[in-house]
Structure formats: structure tokens, C-alpha cells
């Protein structure tokens, strides 16, 4: 399209040139613009030169528009728009410049961009090549902080529900801070006053400077990784300038704090600026000293609490026993109970007699039952000795009676069994057979019963045994079948 346009334009120009030649006939003039015309690339080169001369490193304020991140090349192309929406300027950020932007570009963000505009010869398109960009209104680091904070918050790293309670009595306190810093000194001083026996493990880490984030992350990981290395952590630094807090706003540090398997107290020593690490920690302390105060209760408070607990226990129980004794004394002095001890003694004798009678009436008492009886008896004696309540005594007697009843039922059952066995034995007795009308026949002078008629002859004398009594008879005839 543009090629054809260019061709047409050239033809029109050529015709005009020839007309001019014809009318003026001056060879120098005749050659005119054809001799002086610049190529497109020359024009563009000249434009770019003018732009460099007049608009080099110009600051432009505008809203980011049409932002789609970086291209595959790593370069980034988008537009800047006036807030009013009246003007648009294409911009490009080369990969090496783009990487240096500390915050994340996003659609609609009002920015200040520094760069030089130029025309890209291939397309004849004007764009601003940006070498530096910063948010308008707030600093780039501040924006980066806000953006990271929003992103981590969206991931839930700061959720209140994620906060874990600190152990009441930490067996090992892990500390992540500089070995020679004021923070460590403050922590140790406070711990020494509160809980002199504290077991503290310091994992030294720089808390400022370029190496700080890596060292802090390493220490946090170590305490998370090694079981029992610590059951609570203090990550701390003393006060410093805002830039010094950078390590505690570092994404890796914040993530390591949030991911710690051990509860973390974070004390960065800034009342006004809350670092992201502090937001991710389970507990935030204003200063390292306060972190040490939060990490363990005062030893003497522990001791006081335990002593108070034991004292309260003793007072309660002593009061309870005093009341019970008082109650007993009142009961014992009641007129109706004047005869009580005698009654109890007699009852005990009776119950003993009854128990031993019960005992001796059976050859074997199941051990469970006998121990029960002796236990019953012991409690009778115990209660008597302690001037027990009549009601309890009655209960004991009832229990004894129930035990005796159960024993009696057992014995009856045993007896019934034995009866059945005796019945079976009886059924097998010869006398029992005879009772059903059978008789036993023996030959005179023999003891073996006759079971075959062939053994008998007419005229033999036999003895006949019946269920009751016996008879002597003579055989009249025999029949062998």
C-alpha cells in the first residue's frame, strides 16, 4: 500500500519536474528538488538529530497505558498518556533498563519517565526510549514496598489466622541478629534479668547491607530445618535509618519469616515504619528488649504462679476436710445417733458372723467374690473406725446382702446342675430298668443273668429279681426263636 503510494508520488513529482524544465529551460534550476531531496532515512536521521538536540533526556509525566509486560526479547513497549487523555506517546524500555526498575510497572500507574524520543526508521514511528522511570508522587522504593506488601498480603502471608502462639516456656531461644550489634546485647541483658537460665542460640547474620537478606534467610531456614534447635525465634536489629531496614522488607526474608516452622518474634526497632518481616512474624516487638520480654515470662512469675497454685490447692482441700469433719461431728452428736456406735459394732459383728457363716457354708467361693466380701468387710470396719454415716453402713450391708444373694443363686444353680447329673446316673441303674417292669432271671445256683431261652430246660428252677423283692419259679417249657 505505502509502496504504491510512494510510487505514485514519485511519478507526480517527475511530471512536475519535466514541466518546470520545459518552462524555464535552466539546466541548474531544472534539476531542482531532485538534486536536493533527501532520502526518507536521511530525513529520519535528521529528525532524530533534532530530537536529540532539543529533547535529550527529557522527563515526561504520564499514565502507563497498553502495558502488557515484556516481549520475548525482554524489551518492553507501551504508551504514556496524559492524565486528561488528550495525548499519547509510544515508549520503549530496553531489557537492560527494564531490569533496573525496582517496582512493578502496571496499567494506569502515573510515572515520571526519563528518555529521548526518536523515530524508528523502519516504521516511521515516534517513540520515547526510556532509560529511567519512577512513580510520580512517591518514591520508587516506597512504591516497590507497597506493591510487594500488597502482593504478599494477597498471598495471605500476613493473615492474623496464621499467627501462632509463642511457647510459654521456651526451652531454646533462637536469635537471628548481628553478633556484635546492640540488639543482641539488649536481648541478653533483658533475658538475664527475667529468666537467668534461658538457653539462647545465636545464629549470627548481618542485618544491614547487601548480604543481609541472604544471611537472615539462611539462619531462619537453619532453625526451621534442625528439629529442636529452637522453639521460638527472635529476629532483631537495633534502630537505624529507613534504608537500613531494607533487609526486613526483602521478599525472601519476609517469606522465610512466614515459612518458619518455629514461631517468630520480629523486632526491627522502628516505631514508625513497620517492615514486612514484622508483618509476617507471629509477634511484632517494638525493640529487641521488648522481644526478649515477650519471649519468656519472668522466672519469678512462673515460681509465684506455681506456688500460688499449690497454696490454693492446699487451702481448698483443707477447707473441704475441715467442713467434712465438722459435718461428721455434728452428725455424731445428734441424739438419734447416741446409740450409733453400739449399733454399728453389733451390726459389724453380725455381718462378720453372717459372712463367715456364708463363707464356711461353701467349699469354694470364687476368688472375686471372696475378695469382694473381704473388701466389704474392710469398708465396714473403716467406716466404723471413722464413725461412719449410718446411711453408708446400710449401703454396705445392702451390698453384703446382695453379694450373699448372688452367692446363694450361684449355689442353687450348682445344686440344680448336680441334681440333673444324679438323675442321669439313676436312669442308668438296673433298678431303674426293673422299675419299668423288667425282671432279671438267674438259674438256681448261678449269678449270671439268663439272656437265652436255650440255656433253660423245662423243670429248671430259676430266680426272678423284680424291682422290689424276688421269687423262685420253675420252667414249664422253652421256646427258642
Amino acid at each position: 500500500m505505502s509502496g504504491r503510494f510512494r510510487y505514485t508520488l514519485r511519478r507526480v513529482t517527475a511530471r512536475r519536474v519535466s514541466e518546470t524544465q520545459m518552462s524555464f529551460g535552466d539546466a541548474e534550476l531544472d534539476r531542482g528538488p531532485d538534486a536536493t531531496a533527501m532520502s526518507v532515512s536521511q530525513v529520519i536521521a535528521q529528525i532524530n538529530g533534532l530530537l536529540r538536540g532539543g529533547l535529550q533526556n527529557v522527563w515526561v509525566r504520564g499514565e502507563v497505558s497498553g502495558f502488557r509486560g515484556t516481549a520475548a526479547s525482554g524489551h518492553c513497549f507501551f504508551s504514556l498518556k496524559d492524565e486528561s487523555g488528550g495525548a499519547t506517546l509510544r515508549v520503549k524500555v530496553f531489557a537492560s533498563d527494564y531490569r533496573r526498575i525496582p517496582f512493578t510497572l502496571e496499567e494506569g500507574l502515573l510515572v515520571l519517565a526519563r528518555g529521548t524520543p526518536d523515530v524508528y526508521p523502519e516504521r516511521g514511528e515516534l517513540s520515547l526510549r526510556i532509560v529511567e522511570i519512577q512513580p510520580s508522587g512517591i518514591g520508587a522504593l516506597q512504591l516497590a514496598f507497597e506493591q510487594l506488601k500488597a502482593r504478599l498480603a494477597a498471598e495471605g502471608l500476613f493473615d492474623a489466622a496464621k499467627k501462632r502462639p509463642l511457647p510459654l516456656l521456651p526451652r531454646r531461644i533462637g536469635v537471628v541478629t548481628s553478633r556484635h550489634g546492640a540488639a543482641l546485647r539488649d536481648i541478653l541483658k533483658v533475658l538475664d534479668a527475667r529468666f537467668p537460665n534461658a538457653h539462647v542460640t545465636l545464629y549470627p547474620a548481618s542485618v544491614q547491607g547487601a548480604s543481609a537478606p541472604g544471611e537472615i534467610v539462611r539462619a531462619l531456614h537453619a532453625f526451621s530445618r534442625v528439629p529442636g534447635a529452637a522453639d521460638v525465634l527472635i529476629v532483631a536489629r537495633g534502630g537505624g535509618s529507613k534504608e537500613d531496614l531494607a533487609a526486613f522488607n526483602d521478599e525472601a526474608v519476609v517469606r522465610a519469616v512466614a515459612a518458619s516452622t518455629v514461631p517468630v518474634i520480629c523486632a526491627v526497632g522502628h516505631e514508625t515504619d513497620v517492615s514486612l518481616a514484622e508483618l509476617a512474624a507471629d509477634v511484632r516487638a517494638a525493640t529487641p528488649s521488648q522481644a526478649a520480654e515477650l519471649v519468656v515470662e519472668r522466672l519469678d512469675h512462673f515460681e509465684e504462679r506455681l506456688e500460688r497454685g499449690e497454696r490454693d490447692l492446699k487451702i481448698s482441700v483443707r477447707g473441704r476436710m475441715d467442713r467434712a469433719a465438722h459435718h461428721l461431728a455434728r452428725l455424731a452428736s445428734a441424739p438419734a445417733l447416741a446409740r450409733f456406735p453400739a449399733t454399728v459394732r453389733q451390726g459389724r459383728l453380725e455381718s462378720r458372723a453372717a459372712a463367715s457363716a456364708l463363707f464356711s457354708s461353701f467349699r469354694r467361693i470364687p476368688s472375686s467374690l471372696s475378695s469382694r466380701i473381704s473388701r466389704v468387710e474392710q469398708s465396714v470396719r473403716a467406716w466404723v473406725d471413722r464413725a461412719a454415716f449410718p446411711l453408708l453402713f446400710t449401703r454396705v450391708l445392702q451390698e453384703r446382702r446382695a453379694a450373699a444373694d448372688r452367692m446363694a443363686a450361684r449355689v442353687a444353680a450348682a445344686n440344680e446342675k448336680r441334681g440333673i447329673a444324679a438323675g442321669r446316673l439313676e436312669a442308668l441303674s438296673p433298678l431303674r430298668v426293673l422299675a419299668r417292669g423288667y425282671a432279671i432271671v438267674t438259674k438256681e445256683g448261678e449269678t449270671a443273668p439268663v439272656t437265652d431261652a436255650a440255656a433253660l430246660a423245662a423243670g429248671d428252677a430259676v430266680r426272678v429279681r423284680l424291682a422290689r423283692g424276688r421269687a423262685v419259679a420253675r420252667i414249664l417249657s422253652t421256646e427258642t426263636t
Binding site: 548481628s178 556484635h180 534447635a229
Partner: protein
């Protein structure tokens, strides 16, 4: 005179202290029977002893990590005196 309940095996210090306070509160209830009170009392005393033993188990140590092994942190005692030199060092660092 009464059966003492054994303390749970993996009882935590927090739980023990909490239960001790619960027992103290329970014993203040006049409705509790004598027998039950004695059982609670004994449980309370053993909880208190348990807590004391846990406190006594902790031994004062301040150590610094020298290096890591796969399953431990190698430490040495920290020079307790954070003397003037150390502080000067810190000031210089700033």
C-alpha cells in the same frame, strides 16, 4: 487413699499450667465431693511438680552457631562479655 491419675505422656508445659489453674478453680466449687476433691488435689500437685521440673530442666547457656550439619547446628559458647571492643566494632560498622 485415692487413685492418682497419671499425667499424660506428652503433656506440654502450657497444658499443665492451664490444667493446674482449672483445678484450682474447680476446687473452689463447694459442690465438689471430698473424695473427688482429693483426687483433683493430687493431680494439681503433680502438675505443679511437672511444671517445676520443666523449668529446672532449662540450663543457662548462651551459644553461637558456628556451622550447620545436615541435622544439627554446631555451636560454641558465646563470649558472654559484650565488651567495649565489640561495641566499638558495631559503631564502626555503621
Amino acid at each position: 487413699m485415692s487413685k492418682t491419675k497419671a499425667l499424660p505422656k506428652n503433656l506440654s508445659f502450657e497444658k499443665a499450667l492451664e490444667r493446674l489453674q482449672e483445678i484450682v478453680a474447680e476446687l473452689e466449687n463447694p459442690e465438689k465431693g471430698l473424695e473427688e476433691s482429693l483426687v483433683l488435689f493430687e493431680e494439681g500437685i503433680s502438675l505443679s511438680r511437672f511444671c517445676r521440673s520443666r523449668i529446672d530442666e532449662i540450663q543457662k547457656r548462651v551459644e553461637v552457631v558456628l556451622k550447620e550439619t545436615p541435622d544439627a547446628l554446631v555451636t560454641e559458647p558465646l563470649d558472654d562479655e559484650l565488651d567495649e571492643d565489640a561495641l566499638d566494632g558495631e559503631e564502626r560498622e555503621r
